[in-house]
Amino acid sequence: MKRERKSFLRIAITVLFIVAGFYLYAESAESSDKGPAQPVLFSHKIHAGDNQIECQTCHSYTEVSPHPGIPSVQKCMGCHAYVAGRDVEYTTQGGQTINIREEINKVKGYWQRQEPIPWVKVTGMYGTNSSGMPEFVHFNHKRHIKRGFECSTCHGEVEKMDVVHKAKDLTMGFCISCHEENADNEEHKTELKDCLTCHY
């Protein structure tokens, strides 16, 4: 009997460690800039939060297209031809320190070279650090915006993020629960939960 207890204890401790490890790992991700590193440290907090720029100013196709649109370099330069940025250090939530003017200069560099900025995709299904929506899912931004959903419903409070990360778990369960909650009636629910709505 004694031996059995001992082994139980061992197993329990091991399990505890594994769980704790996962927890700590998740925690550590929480406290830093957990989004992927971008070629330019574009702070949504400064733009959308501090300066109160509407999302659709830059992501301008949300109401007309399934795709929201990523602003062109030209669009960046539309402002930054005039806004040079302060030559100050800025510390992000995750503790990265950058010089605002230097970051803006990077954008200018792309403009001068007439190169697109290779942004890294944030909003994906699998984890925070990679990949877009799998291509077998067809999400229509227009329909959701026209129905009156806030961007933050799916993207979280981007205006509070220096480095954007995936705030909501954009898995099918997330989509479906929202579709269920927002159905007008049973018939509508059937339509909203129809597989062919998104998968084709």
Partner: protein, 979 residues
């Protein structure tokens, strides 16, 4: 390769191509349903005007795959052309396209296109890439140092502004422009000139006829404009109050066109003229003629039906019956096709003209006021002369542009040898075909999808071609090349004021605009032109009278070379035409209408002969002709006379890219340079051949091995006088099936389809359109030999027997029936296929685990399985539709009535706060179908076209006995009293 390297490589590749396009944004779907995710999003540097990622743009342009000049609308997503559709505004094709038109994007994105200028390196004996500047410099040098020899510009039918540019370019150089179309229908022109004094090809208005008598003209395949003919055919096939048009086809072989006729009359090869004369004889002797015969009476007097019967193997009664029907209805006689290219082809056409004349069809169904531009093409004998000149060294510079004479001119002319005698050959073609391969310099032209231009297929219509995307490769439009080179050529220095062909085109149109719409500004006119894609004018009516020259014609027997037992017919393919389509995998994989063969050539042979020689489908034979011999597999076919064998043209390329090269045989190579005596047209039916068995057999790769449907009654027919009579077989179709479960109810939509078998011609445009719309992979011959073709819609073809024992060919497009009681659905363990609230049988690729039970249980066998992850070689993958998932291995797929189009349509309708209207969403197959056989719509809406047709008396469901309750209603093919 490590994962990281791989990622970077993909990232770079992607970026590069986006730079080429100058666009980005949005997520373009190239990846498989479970392949590695896309890592980066690349925004525009400067966003192009009016382009919204995710929202398609449509550009009107003109199809240049053949000389018909159909109007197109090209769908563009994020800067890439992804789908071609007919332009409903265009009077020629009225929104329809053929399979070749649908596949034209695979020309644009063909991986074997010439990617940059090439120059022949004498040391390495290869064509090697050079820059544009250097290429144009070389050409200018050559033009500057032009000696006493000729300069010849050899192109396909380039009517419109470009032909004027070529003329202007050549005039100071003393050059000559040859317009070479493999099938330029010289006999028709010549006969018109003889009979009516008009050296042109009129518009034949099948749509206005209700009795069509075709002497070998494969009007549904390649004859003149197949799409516009099919539209007319569809009209003729309308069943209205128990009446419908009738078609009689006279040809030794029952091709796709003949197979769609009500009666196929198998005349002795080359004797069609006698039948026409016999008919004329009956008309005159019975007083059935509507116009005074004049000298014709004497010409035809000797051709009594009895005498004709002896000459042609066609009974006198048949001739009499045709004569009576022909003269008592709105009729039209046409002639042409491969079978009518014998030594007496023009005589046959004269006889056909006589028929039209006697029946009073001139000005009604034969419209000379609106003649076709192909009338301007050089004749075959001109080409023969040109080849002789080349051989004798008289041609110093030859510019080849989008023609492939080495492949398409008869082997006897030995064009390749003649070409070697030309000191400098320039090719402006986009592909290294058999001719361009021999060029000294290749300055690749951008395809019609990438460049400006216009094209006038007939007098009344001029279509505009506009670039629908940036050039895929480092190519330039031929007009730009010529103008740019002219600047550095002494003789041409001041020929062109413009810098670009675009400017030249606009200035040409400025003049036209002033005539066409005098009131409006040019910019407005131009904008409207680009939106509409074409301008249409009403041609002035012309008076056509019988020419006195008609009596000079004497009718002769056809001449054949060689001593063989069989007449050899080499006929143009409805998929490749003269071979230009052979480099497009969609067309290679599109089953031939009759044999369902793919990726290969075959020889059609009569069953009686085959039995005697011990041949079966797939047996190898050696065909000996005076021009040489070839080995080919046999297709045993009842629709060909025992004294005739037939082989399709278009295969047998020795270059022209990976998809064309080394497949089948090229009959052109064996043909003699024989001509039709009067017109100088090429003679494709001029050889006799011997066939000997090679005593080996292999699978002739096809998509359907069953010839008859046996007792299955899949493709049904109904006698014309039985329509509406609910007795007999028809009544049984509507018997009630007791159901275990209650009927399913729908609230907004129940998507359904009606397919009129009386209109379906089996052309396969729907198949190609479906491939283009739904990212359907091509799998190659090896896989198809294992029956692994992926097409979601297939044309089933059954050879049945009429009551009199004659051949009855039936076509039936088979696609997912979206059954109300689908057998596939309940057997899926994971709900990957299910029934949605709009009546669609959904197929969710990402949920599929691949048990394949659904496919087993599918009564119609329309499900396709991804046995492998099929590849689309770069840049063919640029064509992929981002709205449709690209499937990867292990996943079932099938037609869902283009659900992406339905969803897109509903999305737009929702913006307006309403439901979809009828005809707002068209499926890809329906959109393409040139004969309007397919109609899609909401069955809950009583007034929708699909609903109305589904309730038609001819309607039935395929294999109704299984009680699957399909959403597709087929309309029985109408059987008429046969001749």
């Amino acid at each position: 390769m490590s994962g990281k390297e791989n990622k970077e490589k993909n990232g770079m590749k992607r970026r590069d191509f986006l730079k080429v396009l100058g666009v980005a944004g949005g997520t373009a779907a190239v990846a498989g349903s479970c392949s590695e995710p896309v890592e980066q999003i690349i925004p525009y540097v400067i966003p192009p005007e009016n382009v919204i990622p995710g929202v398609p743009k449509f550009y009107a342009t003109t199809c240049r795959e053949c000389s018909s000049g159909c109007g197109l609308v090209v769908k563009n997503r994020e800067g890439r052309a992804i789908k071609v559709e007919g332009n409903p505004e265009n009077p020629i094709n009225k929104g329809k396209t053929c399979a070749m038109g649908q596949a034209s994007l695979q020309g644009l994105y063909n991986p074997d296109r010439v990617r940059s200028p090439l120059r022949y390196n004498t040391e390495t004996q290869r064509l090697e890439p050079i820059g544009w500047d250097r290429g144009e410099e070389i050409l200018a040098e050559k033009l500057n140092s032009l000696g006493s020899g000729k300069i010849v510009y050899l192109s396909n039918n380039v009517s419109g502004t470009y032909s004027k540019l070529v003329a202007k370019f050549l005039r100071p150089l003393g050059g000559k422009h040859y317009v070479y179309e493999t099938f330029s229908h010289e006999p028709i022109r010549k006969a018109n000139s003889i009979v009516f004094g008009r050296d042109e090809i009129p518009s034949y208005r099948i749509d206005k006829a209700d009795y069509l008598l075709s002497f070998g003209a494969d009007y549904l395949e390649t004859w003149l404009s197949a799409v516009s003919n099919s539209i007319g055919y569809s009209k003729l096939r309308d069943v209205d109050h128990g009446k419908t048009g009738q078609i009689v086809h006279i040809e030794p072989r029952s091709g796709m066109t003949a197979s769609n006729a009500d009666t196929w009359v198998a005349a002795k090869p080359g004797t069609e003229q006698y039948i026409a004369l016999g008919i004329a004889n009956v008309m005159i002797s019975k007083g059935l003629n509507k116009v005074a015969p004049g000298p014709i009476a004497r010409m035809v007097s000797g051709y009594t039906p009895e005498k004709v019967a002896a000459l042609t193997d066609v009974s006198a009664d048949t001739i009499k019956k045709i004569a009576r029907d022909f003269s008592t209805s709105k009729s039209l006689a046409i002639g042409g096709g491969a079978a009518n290219t014998g030594s007496n082809a023009t005589e046959t056409m004269v006889a056909v003209n006589i028929l039209n004349y006697l029946a009073g069809n001139i000005g009604k169904t034969v419209d000379f006021s609106d003649s076709l531009s192909i009338s301007d093409a050089s004749s075959f004998s001109d080409m023969k002369e040109l080849v002789e000149e080349m051989r004798s060294g008289k041609v110093e510079i030859l510019i080849v542009h989008n023609v492939n004479p080495v492949f398409t001119l008869p082997g006897e002319l030995k064009v390749a040898e003649a070409l070697e005698k030309v000191p400098f050959v320039l090719s402006l073609s986009s592909f290294l075909d058999e001719t361009s391969e021999k060029a000294h310099l290749v300055l690749p032209e951008s395809t019609s999808f990438e460049s400006w231009g216009d094209y006038s297929p007939k007098k009344s219509v001029t279509g505009i071609t506009q670039p629908v995307m940036r050039p895929v490769f480092n190519t330039k439009s031929a007009g730009d090349t010529l103008i740019s080179v002219s600047k550095s050529v002494e003789a041409l220095k001041n020929t062109f004021a413009e810098k670009k062909y675009y400017d030249y085109l606009r200035s040409a149109w400025k003049k036209r605009a002033a005539v066409l719409s005098p009131g409006t500004s040019f910019e407005k006119f131009w904008e409207a032109l680009l939106v509409k894609g074409s301008v249409t004018t009403t041609p002035a009516p012309v008076n056509v009278a019988l020419s006195s020259r008609v009596s000079s014609v004497s009718f002769s027997d056809p001449q054949f070379r060689g001593e063989g037992d069989f007449h050899l017919i080499a006929y143009p393919s409805h998929r490749f035409l003269d071979g230009r389509g052979a480099n497009k995998p969609w067309l290679q994989e599109l089953p031939d209408a009759l044999t369902t063969s793919v990726w290969d050539s075959w020889l059609e042979i009569n069953p009686a002969v085959a039995a005697k020689m011990g041949l079966e489908d797939g047996s190898y034979v050696k065909v000996d002709t005076p021009g040489g011999s070839f080995e080919v597999q046999v297709f045993v076919y009842e629709g060909i006379r025992p004294d005739t064998i037939a082989i399709p043209l278009g295969q047998g390329h020795t270059s022209y890219g990976r998809y064309a090269k080394g497949r089948g045989v090229n009959p052109f190579a064996l043909l003699p340079a024989a001509t039709d005596a009067l017109s100088g047209g090429p003679s494709l039916l001029s050889t006799k051949a011997n066939v000997s068995s090679l005593r080996k057999r292999d699978l002739l790769v096809r998509t359907q091995y069953t010839k008859s449907q046996g007792d299955r009654h899949v493709a049904k027919t109904v006698a014309l006088d039985q329509i509406g009579h609910h007795n007999g077989a028809h009544g049984a179709d509507h018997s009630e099936h007791p159901d275990f479960y209650p009927e399913k109810e729908y609230s907004k939509y129940r998507w359904g389809m009606a397919i009129d078998l009386n209109k379906c011609t089996g052309c396969g445009a729907c198949v190609a359109a479906c491939s283009a719309e739904n990212n359907i992979p091509f799998v190659g011959k090896k896989q198809i030999a294992k029956r692994r073709e992926m097409n979601w819609i297939r044309i089933e073809r059954f050879f049945e027997k009429n009551s009199d024992g004659s051949l009855d060919v039936r076509f039936l497009p088979m696609l997912c029936q979206q059954c109300g009681n689908a057998p596939c659905e309940p057997v899926c363990p994971v709900f990957a296929t299910y029934h949605n609230q709009e009546g669609l049988n959904g197929m969710i690729y990402n949920r599929c685990v691949g048990t394949r039970y659904c496919a087993n249980n599918c009564t119609y066998k329309v499900r396709r399985f991804n046995w492998y992850t099929y590849k689309f070689p770069e840049p063919l993958n640029w064509q992929l539709n981002p709205d449709v998932t690209v499937r990867s291995k292990g996943v079932m797929e099938k037609c869902t009535f283009c659900v992406q189009r339905i969803n897109h349509g509903k999305d737009l309708a929702k913006d307006k706060g309403r439901l979809l209207h009828d005809r707002e969403v068209l499926t890809a197959c329906e959109q393409a179908c040139p004969s309007d056989a397919i109609v899609f719509g909401n069955l809950l809406d009583d007034k929708s076209k699909a609903s109305v047709l589904s309730e038609d008396d001819r309607g039935y469901k395929v294999l109704e006995v299984v009680n699957t309750k399909p959403a597709i209603t087929y309309l029985k093919k109408v059987k008429q009293e046969r001749v």
